[in-house]
């Protein structure tokens, strides 16, 4: 059974190289950025021979900034939400205090000199 799992990026990329090599996260990011960057450059900056209609190119041009801002908003929203829902364990703290008293009593009884 698979435990808590998210992306399997490192395994996927390793198939591109040898069976032993695993690409680092930095490597994956650089590859991804290079791919997306070159696609954007090709489509938005429009080298001759690969020209999209002008409205498309105008829309694509600021895309990287938009994505960055969108990611920034997503980050703020996510961290904010997680901060707001961060549990406070009142009972655990109280329980721990009880355990501590019980421990001290029991250990003293068994001869521990604190």
């Amino acid at each position: 059974a698979r435990g808590v799992g998210a992306g399997r990026g490192s395994v996927r990329f390793s198939r591109l190289f040898s069976s032993q090599a695993v690409m680092t996260k930095l490597g994956q990011w650089l590859c991804g950025l290079a791919l997306l960057g070159s696609a954007w450059a090709a489509l938005a900056l429009g080298p001759p021979g690969l020209q999209l209609p002008v409205p498309f190119r105008q829309a694509l041009l600021p895309l990287p900034i938009y994505l960055l801002v969108a990611f920034g908003c997503y980050s703020l929203a996510t961290v904010g939400y997680r901060l707001a829902t961060f549990n406070d364990c009142e009972e655990a703290a109280a329980e721990l205090q009880e355990h501590i008293s019980a421990a001290r009593t029991d250990l003293r009884r068994r001869g521990l000199r604190f």
Binding site: G5, T24, F86, R113
Partner: protein, 239 residues
């Protein structure tokens, strides 16, 4: 593992100036194991604490027996990673538990979770389920959530909490991970989880209540944040 052979849990407790907390941690652990009927041993690796931790450990050994409390001290502070390596040499269990000896961890039923999914590693998380913290102000919570978010984005580790340090490992899994991990301090804990995912080990998570240090000070200053970022970026670039 042969059918019917019992599991044994070896708890590695590296200590440095934990004279106040050590007896309480040992008592809590012993009680949890006795209640769940599991065979256990606690290996106390004291790095020459000047506050008398070793002396208290010796008293605990007399109370609980030297088959349950193993003292394997070292002459001075030599670091967490080597403390675990040192402790593992003496561990006779098939499962290893690694935890801080500072009562930050509310000892819960990791063993049940492990059996549930037959996981290679069971890790505690403060961020999911009814896991959480106690005694943290808003600033500390924000830093914690922010740091964790950054970690998730950069490392995609497959575990929700990388910097908690109560973990249960299969012995051979821990052995293999310790060979591969090179970081120092608590970044080492993070690296273990990342490498574990890369090696295809299964990781189960258990919600834990992280009650702030009862005795002693909890460290979270500017220095800690900077060293965390350095560690995170190093892992980002090397794993």
């Amino acid at each position: 593992m042969a059918a019917g052979s019992a599991d044994k849990f070896s708890v590695l407790l590296p200590t440095y100036n934990e004279r106040e907390n050590l007896p309480l941690v040992v008592w809590l652990l012993a009680r949890t194991f006795q209640e769940s009927g599991n065979n256990f041993e606690i290996i106390i690796i004291d790095d020459g604490s000047p506050d008398g931790t070793q002396e208290i450990a010796e008293q605990l050994e007399k109370i609980y027996g030297s088959d349950k409390i193993l003292l394997r001290p070292r002459p001075r502070k030599l670091g967490l990673g080597t403390a675990y390596i040192h402790g593992m040499k003496h561990a006779t269990g098939n499962f290893i538990v690694i935890m801080d000896a500072d009562l930050s961890h509310h000892v819960s039923l990791y063993f049940i979770k492990q059996k549930e999914g037959n996981f290679d590693i069971v890790s505690g998380t403060r961020y999911k389920g009814n896991g959480g913290v106690y005694g943290w102000d808003l600033k500390r919570k924000l830093i914690s959530r922010g740091a964790n978010f950054l970690t998730q984005v950069l490392l995609r580790p497959g575990a929700s909490d990388l910097t908690g340090s109560f973990r249960l490992y299969r012995k051979e899994v821990l052995q293999k991970l310790m060979d591969k991990c090179v970081s120092k301090g608590y970044v080492f804990q993070m690296e273990m989880i990342v490498r574990a995912r890369q090696l295809g080990f299964t990781i189960g998570e258990v919600p834990i209540s992280f009650v702030d240090r009862v005795y002693g000070e909890s460290k979270l200053g500017g220095n800690e944040i900077v060293s965390f970022l350095k560690g995170l970026l190093t892992l980002f670039a090397t794993t």
